[in-house]
């Protein structure tokens, strides 16, 4: 989805006076929220407090940067990642992300490379075991979301792949 299309969506949501709007499509995630009246009361229901995450302390600031590793990745995607046919490979385990089989070897893949299902994309090391992470689609690697040797949590986006063949 390009900027123009996003703008159109925003105008439409505004026009229709929705309080909240969320759209996820692959890697693309859009969330709009209007601040006017945060408390919603539906007929016949007890007053519901907004299930906003509890702000307990300024630890928030610190840990949200950690917990948000996965969730924040999407909203900060670059323009070119906002595509409808984008497939995101996430980490199936907690561990350390390595782009190459050894410190001196070449990376498994680079941005722009074409991959097939089964092509090894990276290694996630957990408990001294090197887990090779294969691609499950055919396509072109358009973004690598994690730096080499960085920790990753379960479900964290690693690669964005534009599905297709060269």
């Amino acid at each position: 989805m390009d900027l123009k299309e996003i703008k159109q969506l925003i105008r439409l949501v505004d026009e229709k006076k929705f309080a909240e709007f969320e759209l996820e499509q692959g890697d693309f995630r859009l969330r709009i929220k209007r601040n006017e009246a945060p408390i919603i009361q539906r007929a016949g229901e007890p007053l519901t407090v907004e299930p906003e995450p509890l702000p307990t302390s300024d630890n928030d600031a610190e840990h949200s940067s950690s917990t948000a590793v996965a969730s924040a990745a999407a909203p900060t995607v670059d323009e070119d990642v906002v595509e409808t046919d984008l497939h995101v490979v996430t980490s199936p385990i907690v561990g350390t992300f390595y782009r190459a089989p050894s410190p001196t070897a070449d990376p498994f893949v680079q941005e722009g490379d074409w991959v097939e299902p089964g092509t090894i994309l990276c290694i996630v090391e957990a408990m001294k075991i090197m887990n090779e992470i294969p691609s499950d689609v055919a396509g072109q690697v358009v973004e690598i979301h994690v730096e080499n040797a960085q920790p990753v949590e379960y479900g964290q986006p690693l690669f964005s792949i534009r599905v297709g063949r060269p």
Binding site: P46, L47, T48, V49, E50, P51, E52, P53, L54, T56, S57, N59, D60, E62, H63, S66, T67, A70, S71, I93, V94, G95, T96, A126, M127, I129, P151, V152, E153, Y154, G155, Q156
Partner: protein, 467 residues
């Protein structure tokens, strides 16, 4: 050397409790969470939180490689396992050791020994701890079983050596029932624990469940912190605990405590632990030892004015216990109610979103909970949502206090067991301290006698069960 950073391998109130203890010690906290717990309080309280897997516990909180890997990437010095999940998993403790991460609990060997109920019984017996008359270890044949029964007399209880939670258990009242019961217990144990070994113990009709809390540091210093009575149980799940027990005299406490301390020394126990006993009105009999912090630890904290989780962390860091046995004085009386997100009548789980929450204050009131208004309780884990603990100078005042706290404790959006607890608290047998582990069966029985249908005892007020 004090830890710089600790990983908490748990969730819910105990994860918060451990984070609070770490914060008071100036230790950074890392917590793990499943995808279902992204909004959980423990995730928000910790300095760092790592998603380790999808909602099912087997793939997240029970997933040893995921937890260890999280500990490695966050570079922690130690792991606190809380209770449940990996807390009594000797294999996990071993891996921690191998990875040079301190497991906050006893050694893997001690965890393994105490996890084998028949071996634990034998070791405790050898250490001078009174155990129920019964078989010497696992009973293989019907003949053996019959011999044991003739020696110790009926009724007897058949128990799985790998057991827990009441599974693999059978009560036998006549010799004729014996072969069938053995068979049933073995296959149930095999199915539940993958291990069919069973042993036989004398069965006590109306026992009290009384347990002794100990702390042992890594310098050979062991203290006990008196007893807790946990006789109010439903299907082997404790509902309400208190300290001290009304039947334990100071002399009995000293004696039982001394036995526990001696046994702990003998088996090389370290960190916090609990020895559970049955009391038949005259004597105590060792049942099992829990090698972890227990849900009901706060009642002990209230009466002895100690912080057991702090003590666990300090002990694991090699520090000495901060007090000596003579400093341990049980003052007043404490009661804990475990508030579950369950229908108080049917005990069906009641997950949902908390729409209102009011926690009463005042003297001698403590509420440990991971709830907050707007929080949605996921359906994947156990139903304990809050522990309400009260403390007062006397047991009767503590009971009155617990009643007013539960009546004023508003949890909206889910059903809770608060009405059940209010019913127990005003039951004449409870008020008089006439307790046994069958209290709840009698209670349910009497209710169904006196009040048919689903009506509650008249003064059990449905405080929080209306959504």
């Amino acid at each position: 050397m004090m830890f710089k950073r600790v990983l908490i391998a748990n969730r819910g109130e105990i994860a918060c409790r451990i984070i609070w203890a770490c914060q008071e010690l100036g230790i950074e906290t890392v917590t793990v969470f499943s995808e279902a717990d992204r909004d959980a309080l423990h995730v928000q309280l910790a300095d760092q939180a790592i998603c380790i897997g999808p909602p099912p516990a087997s793939q997240s909180y029970l997933n040893v490689p995921a937890v260890i890997s999280a500990a490695e990437i966050s570079d922690v010095d130690a792991i606190h396992p809380g209770y449940g999940f990996l807390a009594e998993n000797a294999h996990f403790a071993e891996i921690c050791e191998a990875c040079n991460i301190k497991f906050i609990g006893p050694s893997p060997e001690v965890i393994r020994l105490m996890g084998d109920k028949a071996r634990a019984r034998a070791v405790m017996k050898a250490a001078g701890v009174p155990v129920l008359p019964g078989s010497d270890g696992i009973v293989e044949t019907d003949e053996e079983a019959r011999a044991v029964v003739r020696r110790i007399g009926l009724p007897v209880m058949i128990k799985a050596t790998a057991g827990g939670g009441g599974r693999g258990m059978r009560i036998v009242h006549t010799e004729a029932e014996l072969p069938g019961a053995l068979e049933a217990a073995r296959s149930e144990a095999q199915a539940a624990f993958g291990e069919g070994g069973v042993y036989i113990e004398k069965y006590i009709e109306e026992p009290r469940h009384i347990e002794v809390q100990i702390l042992a540091d890594e310098r050979g210093h062991v203290v006990h912190l008196g007893e807790r009575e946990c006789s109010i149980q439903r299907r082997h799940q404790k509902l309400l605990e208190e300290s001290p027990s009304v039947v334990v005299t100071p002399e009995m406490r000293d004696e039982l405590g001394a036995i526990a301390v001696r046994a702990a020394r003998q088996i090389g126990y370290t960190n916090a632990g609990t020895m559970e006993f049955l009391f038949d009105g005259e004597q105590f009999y060792f049942m099992e030892m829990n090698t972890r912090i227990q849900v009901e630890h706060p009642v002990t904290e209230m009466v002895v004015n100690a912080d057991l989780v702090r003590a666990q962390i300090l002990i694991a860091a090699g520090e000495p216990i901060e007090f000596d046995q003579p400093d341990v004085v049980l003052a007043g009386h404490a009661i804990e109610c475990r508030i579950n997100a369950e229908d108080p009548e049917t005990f069906a789980p009641s997950p949902g979103t908390i729409t209102a929450l009011t926690i009463p204050g005042g003297p001698g009131v403590r509420v440990d909970t991971a709830l907050y208004p707007g929080y949605t309780i996921p359906p994947y884990y156990d139903s304990l949502v809050a522990k309400v603990i009260v403390h007062a100078r006397r047991r009767d005042i503590a009971i009155a206090r617990m009643r007013r706290v539960l009546e004023g404790f508003a949890i909206q959006g889910i059903k809770t067991t608060i009405p059940l607890h209010l019913g127990i608290l005003q039951h004449p047998d409870f008020v008089a301290g006439r307790l046994s582990t069958h209290f709840m069966e009698h209670y349910a029985h009497r209710r169904s006698d006196v009040e048919p249908a689903a009506s509650q005892p008249s003064s059990v007020r449905s405080v929080s069960s209306e959504a």
